[in-house]
């Protein structure tokens, strides 16, 4: 007899916590991907993360200097309470998870039983399968602060150790995982060695400069780096970060306030120097990618620089066009996509030529990650533009193979 009362199933996970499996955390993203047939869409995630300090005892074994390596291994085996060897980190890292409200930011202690690959590979697979990704570029997390380390040589040793460890343990295990290798930007000669060593390594599709640093990127000492990358056809990424110890940020008391400003400010500075010193004219074949500053800063800076340039053209003599025209030709990752003012978003996409310049990024597993739905649901984009942003533009920029099973709409 039909009682009108329907049986349902109970979802056993009442509260997601640090032990919850990534696939359960992202179950609703997986449902979205299935419902919207994203399996037909080529999706590249240009900025995701792992927490390299969870495996720091492994990474330090790759430090090339025998004395530092011995110090590091001794420290890691006997330390109590202190942060991992050699890392400066930032005070703000303590607050990222909003007081424990976002557990996947706090820690990922889920069970991994497969020992055939590194744990980080398994965690990445769980994420990219849930989000429906074809490729995922991974970046470190606390290492993003190495550009302000009081010992400049530490950036060289730790950056090198990280690159080696990641190639061996992550990239060789899974062709879907890629990196933009860590460039120790504080030491240009070391950067050249890094490019030479890792420029052709499996899974290395570009190089990354951590944007938190206080050295002007237009300095003559960097020109050989840009030329080397341009010659190899490898993009350079400026991965943003925050720095609460920046004197101007010391006036800000709330983490969110500092994060909103500082994560953008570092790239505002670098972009300004990059454009006004004519780097796009000097290295027209070099492709800069501005990573994890969101997008709302770009139209603002375009307007500021154009307005200034038209009156003070003599101070930017290498430029042949307005700053904004060069900025339209660069690449930007989408996360964190500021979607609260849709008219402004549409204007931003138009100003940066998003259908050709914007690259989807998740920033998973950080607290402000974006699922592919942030792009797929945008009301003002046609399907071609969505496909470009989600993956096709990245496939061209990073020369990533598009699986034959993915539908491609002619550009």
């Amino acid at each position: 007899m039909d009682t009108g009362i329907e049986q349902v199933k109970e979802i056993p996970i009442k509260q997601i916590d640090v032990y919850t499996d990534t696939r359960d955390i992202l179950a609703r993203a997986r449902k979205y991907a299935v419902k919207n047939k994203l399996e037909d869409v080529f999706i590249c995630d240009i900025d995701s993360h792992h927490t390299e300090t969870e495996h720091w005892h492994e990474i330090i074994k790759f430090i090339s200097d025998p004395v530092l390596r011995a110090q590091a291994m001794e420290y890691q085996s006997s330390r109590t309470g202190a942060p991992p060897y050699g890392l400066n980190g930032d005070f703000g890292l303590r607050y990222q998870d909003i007081g424990g409200r976002v557990p996947h930011q706090s820690s990922r202690r889920e069970k991994v039983e497969d020992t055939s690959v590194h744990r980080d590979v398994t965690l990445a697979r769980r994420a990219y399968e849930s989000l429906g990704l074809d490729y995922q570029i991974i970046f470190p997390t606390p290492m993003l602060f190495l550009g302000v380390h009081p010992q400049p040589e530490m950036e060289v040793y730790l950056g090198d150790a990280y690159n080696r460890w990641t190639v061996e343990n992550v990239l060789k295990a899974d062709d879907k995982l890629k990196i933009m290798a860590y460039l120790p930007f504080g030491d240009p000669d070391a950067c050249m060695r890094t490019i030479e060593e890792f420029g052709g390594a499996p899974g290395v599709i570009g190089f990354m400069v951590t944007s938190v640093r206080f050295k002007p990127i237009h300095h003559n000492q960097y020109m050989k780096i840009y030329r080397a990358l341009e010659e190899r056809g490898l993009p350079i990424g400026f991965h943003a970060g925050y720095y609460w110890q920046d004197p101007s940020m010391l006036q800000v008391n709330r983490f969110g306030s500092m994060h909103a400003l500082s994560f953008v400010w570092c790239n505002v500075l670098h972009m300004t120097n990059w454009v006004m010193n004519g780097l796009p004219e000097r290295f027209p074949g070099l492709k800069p990618v501005w990573i994890e500053s969101g997008l709302s800063w770009v139209p603002w800076l375009m307007q500021r620089l154009d307005h200034t340039y038209m009156m003070r053209t003599s101070e930017a003599p290498l430029l042949k066009r307005k700053p904004s025209e060069y900025m339209r030709e660069m690449f930007y990752t989408s996360q964190p996509l500021e979607l609260d003012h849709m008219k402004a978003v549409e204007c931003t996409f138009d100003m940066i030529d998003a259908k050709n310049s914007l690259l989807y990024a998740s920033d998973w597993p950080h607290w402000d990650f974006d699922a592919p739905s942030t792009i797929w649901d945008l009301p003002f984009l046609d399907e071609q533009a969505k496909r470009n942003i989600l993956g096709m533009s990245a496939s061209k920029l990073f020369k990533l193979k598009v699986p034959a099973t993915k539908k491609k709409i002619a550009a």
Partner: protein, 121 residues
Amino acid sequence: MAELFVGKETEFGERDRKIIAQGELEIGIFRLDGQFYAWENNCVHQGGPICQGKILGRVEEILGPDKTSKGLKFSETDTHIVCPWHGYEYNIKTGRHPGDRNVRLKPYEVKVKNGDVYVVV
């Protein structure tokens, strides 16, 4: 309209919840201050599993008579459910975001009959 059986009223402690699914639809049923509330397990922000997040009091800032800040406290009256994806918070009784009342979870009616809890869909 259909009534979905959620469970026995006695199975719910104070501030307790159940998350149920029927097909694609997921609903969180909460018990707070002796009353039941039901919201779709779908955060308005990015579709995250809102009902599977932490339950916390709304954070309030204490101001002195001279408007100086005297620190923070958890509300004793406003209880929030927090989305575990990004931290969006909603009042469990109203389903509304504390910073924008137009940002609201989709509500469902809850019926309690003879000690059995149902949600109406």
